[in-house]
């Protein structure tokens, strides 16, 4: 089974914005994404309106199509609450697969956390 670790924190740099940061490390695939996704849905449901979520992908090494499908759904739910979703620091292979399925047209991606914070 692939190993995925995640942590969720509130970004307190800018009190004018409500931002959550989700750091992912490892591989998200068929063997673990159905366990990971409900944690994200819980987070999204509990968030205040207009909260943005930055996913830090720097340590993510694999992402399959079903996982991408969940991120598209997270996008729908977060934006429905008035927030934004941003993917930061994705490695080139992860950006490549997000691009081939057209996620780059849906979710903003940044090279740095600083850019992501400005965008959120």
């Amino acid at each position: 089974m692939a190993d995925i670790k995640y942590s969720i924190s509130d970004l307190v740099d800018d009190p004018s914005k409500s931002i959550k940061v989700v750091i992912l490390a490892g591989q998200l695939d068929e063997s673990n994404v159905d366990q990971f996704a409900p944690k994200m849905y819980e987070m999204i449901q509990a968030m205040a309106a207009k909260t943005s979520v930055i996913f830090d992908f720097q340590q993510l090494t694999y992402l399959n199509s079903k996982s991408i499908g969940y991120f598209a759904d997270f996008y729908n739910q977060i934006t429905a609450k008035g927030g934004k979703i941003i993917i930061a620091k994705a490695p080139s292979n992860i950006k490549d697969i997000l691009n081939v399925v057209g996620m780059d047209q849906m979710i903003s991606m940044t090279q740095t956390m600083q850019e992501a914070k400005l965008m959120a």
């Binding site: 591989q27 068929e30 399959n64 199509s65 490549d96 697969i97 081939v100 047209q105």
Partner: protein
């Protein structure tokens, strides 16, 4: 006990290298197959690392589809890698068919075409693997019914093909140097 079995047939450089892996229908083993694919591509071809990762995804998507839609629990799927020097790399994934919801090749192709033309907002969690990842990162995709039931999906990436240069699918992944 669940086991993974395989065989390797490597003749001289003019003959294809063929590697067969039989996998239990359990997603638990998929990270191992991905590691194997990456290692195979990196060690047996001159593909860029970008293409090694792309093939890793292609194999993962095909095998996951076979496990989820084409197999029962405690079944096995067969993944076969063929590499012909300076010509092509081919991956074949075969399943035995889902016992309750068997799908014909025609149905899978129709669903894939439908997904290709969907608006991004219309997608559910599923449907992107074959329609985008597998289709866009390979040059030939063949889906056929197996005589004994189940599907055989074969994908091929051609090398040194003149058409490759004008293809909108991708850049040339360089030559196989087996």
């Amino acid at each position: 006990m669940e086991t993974i079995s395989g065989s390797i047939n490597q003749n001289n450089s003019d003959k294809p290298v063929e590697i067969k892996i039989e996998l239990p229908t359990n997603a638990y083993f998929m990270s191992g197959i991905r590691d194997f694919t990456l290692s195979l591509i990196e060690n047996m071809t001159d593909f860029s690392s970008q293409w090694a990762y792309r093939f890793q995804s292609v194999v993962d998507e095909l095998a996951n589809n076979a496990i989820e839609h084409g197999s029962s629990a405690n079944d096995k799927i067969l993944v076969t890698f063929f590499a012909i020097a300076n010509k092509e790399i081919k991956i074949v994934v075969e399943d035995h068919g889902h016992p309750e919801k068997p799908m014909k090749a025609e149905q899978v192709m129709a669903q894939m075409e439908k997904n290709k033309n969907k608006d991004k907002s219309e997608f559910s969690i599923r449907g992107r693997g074959l329609a985008f990842i597998v289709d866009k990162w390979t040059d030939k995709l063949e889906i056929t019914d197996r005589p004994s039931g189940g599907l055989r999906i074969a994908v091929t990436k051609y090398l040194n093909d003149e058409n490759f240069k004008t293809s909108d699918r991708s850049d040339d992944p360089k030559n196989i140097i087996i």
